[in-house]
């Protein structure tokens, strides 16, 4: 087990290092550099004339005249050693300030989505496998096709439209107007939870469709196995038998794809956030890409990826704990 853990941890660190290089590359990609955009943003329209010398001064001050390797080391060591993500030029403050609490909001949304996804897809997948060929089964197959075909952001628009039609109120956003700027309190938390279900459902939409299919397929395979028949012959009650043998194994593919689901959810987050007006990292990521505020964008991209890598790791660990065959290298 220890060896398994050590191997996975080492792999995780190597992956994270390469991810950070990749993110840094993307941050460097837009034409022009931080100094030019900074000068433009700060002085355009103020009547101040900017000479190339001024830009060069800003560049030197920020250390942008150094080679890329030095800048990368500077950037990554700031993050790893001091948790400092650098300057956000569009807001004239540090990236840490801009991101602030949004990290927790995003993580909260992620876990809400994951919980809703699994709470819905696992029981339904098991049910569909037990009642194979029934009406419910066909309905679910149709639903899972739609889960892939109807992109989350369009689903969000459709849901918003009907919510508007039926309730006459906007259901978007993460908070009601009263609480958006208010300090954290129990009432605000409750308000958040009340707003969370719709984004969570929308974000989990395609993951749900996919997991229902997986659970159903594994369940169907396992139900026909001899150990199930043997247990049935021993007189184990049907419900207990289903949960004890096939359902337990049907969890394996779900657990092993947690990281994949997180990836899928984060991938769709920025666009769903834009449609639903969620004020968290996805929304900020989209805005900073549109603004070319690459320090903020890079920081968020890195954070999201770190969460995915960590969740991959967690899923490996969970799987090893759940399934001794993997733990013992069988």
């Amino acid at each position: 087990m220890i060896r398994f853990l050590a191997e996975r941890s080492f792999g995780m660190i190597v992956t994270l290092f390469m991810v950070s290089v990749m993110v840094f590359f993307i941050m460097e990609l837009p034409p022009g550099d931080f100094a030019e955009r900074y000068a433009f943003r700060k002085f355009s329209g103020t009547g101040v004339t900017i000479t190339p010398a001024d830009i060069a001064a800003i560049r030197a001050e920020l250390g942008l005249d150094q080679p890329a390797v030095v800048r990368y080391l500077d950037w990554i060591s700031g993050i790893v050693l001091r948790g400092d993500f650098g300057q956000a030029y569009a807001f004239d403050t540090s990236v840490n300030n801009v991101i602030g609490q949004k990290v927790w909001l995003t993580l909260g949304l992620l876990f809400a989505t994951l919980i809703i996804t699994y709470l819905i897809s696992v029981p339904i997948g098991i049910y569909a496998a037990v009642r194979r060929g029934g009406v419910a089964d066909y309905g679910l197959t149709l639903f899972s096709y739609l889960g892939l075909a109807l992109p989350n952001f369009l689903l969000a628009l459709v849901l918003l439209y009907f919510a508007n039609l039926w309730f006459g109120a906007s259901v978007g956003g993460l908070f009601s107007a009263d609480y958006a700027e208010a300090p954290w309190s129990a009432a605000k938390l409750w308000d958040l939870i009340k707003h969370m279900w719709l984004p969570a459902l929308v974000l989990g939409w395609s993951a749900m469709a996919y997991q229902i299919q997986t659970v159903r397929a594994t369940m169907s395979d396992e139900i026909g196995k001899l150990n199930v028949t043997a247990a049935r012959a021993r007189g184990v009650p049907e419900r207990r038998l289903l949960l004890k043998y096939p359902a337990r194994l049907a969890l394996n593919p779900v657990v092993s794809t947690i990281g994949f689901d997180v990836n899928r959810i984060f991938s769709e987050l920025p666009i769903v956030a834009a449609v639903l007006g969620l004020t968290e990292l996805g929304d900020l990521l989209l805005k900073s890409f549109l603004d070319l505020d690459m320090n903020v964008a890079g920081a968020i991209l890195l954070m999201l990826t770190v969460v995915i890598v960590v969740m991959n790791f967690v899923s490996d660990m969970l799987l090893a704990w759940l399934d001794p065959r993997i733990r013992l290298g069988g």
């Binding site: 096709y145 628009l157 508007n164 991938s267 987050l269 666009i271 989209l286 549109l290």
Partner: protein
């Protein structure tokens, strides 16, 4: 029974011939027979072919150009051709003429249908000269109205452009981006997966690491980062090709992984060794000897990767990081339908979403059908 026996009954002969046909059929014929039996996949394929056909010849099927504006019918609702109204029936389908009225509250000029006038729908009406496929000159449209009046089957957008025409042109753009993106990622997957699978060892582990990195970064934010870097002054054609490149550049991991594992599994076969001893270069061994053994699976994976390309392009253009006007794709069109208010006032702007769903659904179902058919020697189902 002896096949030449004169006592063979007609039914037996038919059965024998069928069997012989089966044994003599090539692999691709067998795949086609299998695929043909998959009813839903056939429907999906028909839908896709129709879409591609309509998009390819949009200059003929679309009554107006993608950026042509009708200033007298801005944000106008769809006009459905009808045969009857309260003034009686006609044999030729017609739509009502329109009149411009001022809204008493907002004082905005809005187009309202005028039920007293009729405009008959005509086929093969003259239109602006255009070129089919960029070559064949064409100056007629499939349908339209006569005397310069305009027919907006699916209404117009906020600039007065015909939604139906734009949707057809968008179909062409969106599908072609998918095709190009898939092709690029296919070539990359072939090279990367081929090298990893053929050589194995250290090269393989290094490539596996890189693949892992590409797979772990959330794909749409990654695309967004690359798309955001496109200079603002690029023309829409440049952006179009840059988009296909971006989509293709990161679409390869799944397919590369498939090619790698297949190559690894047949690397030790005798015929590979024979080819190597005969002095064939690695590229020839991979391309000529090894790949053909699993071509059908590669095709399945390619078809399945289409929806991701189309959805990614739609999502990126939707938020303004993808294609830019005057280019028109489903995502670009949906950009106008970003808020609930717009969808409430002009629901027809949401029509392209139906095309996205339809195309993705069709690709998925065709992919499923192909997957079942890809191995025709498996259990005859």
């Amino acid at each position: 029974m002896d096949p030449q026996s004169p006592t063979e009954s007609a039914a037996d002969r038919r059965e024998r011939e069928q069997r012989e046909r089966y044994y003599a059929a090539s692999q691709w014929t067998l795949i086609w027979w299998r695929f043909r039996r998959h009813r839903a996949a056939m429907v999906g394929a028909a839908v896709l072919l129709t879409m591609a056909f309509l998009g390819l010849f949009a200059e003929f099927f679309a009554p107006y150009g993608p950026t042509e504006r009708n200033r007298d019918y801005v944000s106008g609702p769809p006009q459905m051709p009808m045969f009857c109204d309260r003034n009686g029936c006609a044999l030729r389908p017609f739509v009502h003429g329109t009149r411009t009225e001022r809204d008493p509250v907002t004082l905005r000029a809005t187009a309202v249908p005028d039920p007293e006038t009729r405009r008959h729908v005509a086929f093969f009406v003259p239109g602006e000269p255009a070129r089919l496929l960029g070559m064949i000159p064409v100056s007629v449209r499939l349908f339209g109205l006569q005397d310069g009046a305009r027919l907006h089957l699916w209404g117009t957008d906020t600039l007065g452009r015909d939604v139906f025409s734009r949707t057809l042109y968008a179909t062409r753009t969106s599908l072609s981006i998918g095709v190009l993106g898939v092709l690029i990622s296919f070539v990359l997957a072939l090279v990367i997966g081929g090298v990893a699978g053929y050589f194995g060892g250290l090269i393989d582990s290094a490539i596996q690491r890189v693949t892992e990195v590409v797979r772990v970064i959330p794909i749409i934010p990654l695309y967004m980062g690359l798309a955001a870097a496109m200079p603002k002054e690029w023309s829409s054609t440049q952006v179009y090709f840059a988009m296909t490149l971006i989509l293709g550049l990161f679409g390869w991991p799944t397919l590369a992984r498939r090619i790698r594992s297949q190559l690894l599994s047949i690397r030790g076969e005798d015929y590979v060794l024979a080819a190597r001893l005969a002095g064939a270069r690695p590229s020839r061994i991979i391309g000529h000897h090894m790949l053909p053994s699993f071509t059908s699976f590669i095709i399945v994976d390619l078809v399945i990767s289409f929806p991701y390309m189309i959805l990614s392009e739609t999502a990126l253009s939707f938020v303004g990081l993808g294609l830019r006007p005057p280019a028109v794709s489903w995502g670009v069109m949906l950009q106008q339908a970003q808020s609930v208010q717009v969808i409430e006032q002009a629901p027809w702007l949401f029509i392209p979403a139906g095309f996205v769903v339809l195309a993705v659904l069709a690709f998925t179902i065709v992919g499923d059908g192909l997957r079942d058919a890809a191995d025709p020697y498996g259990q005859a189902g």
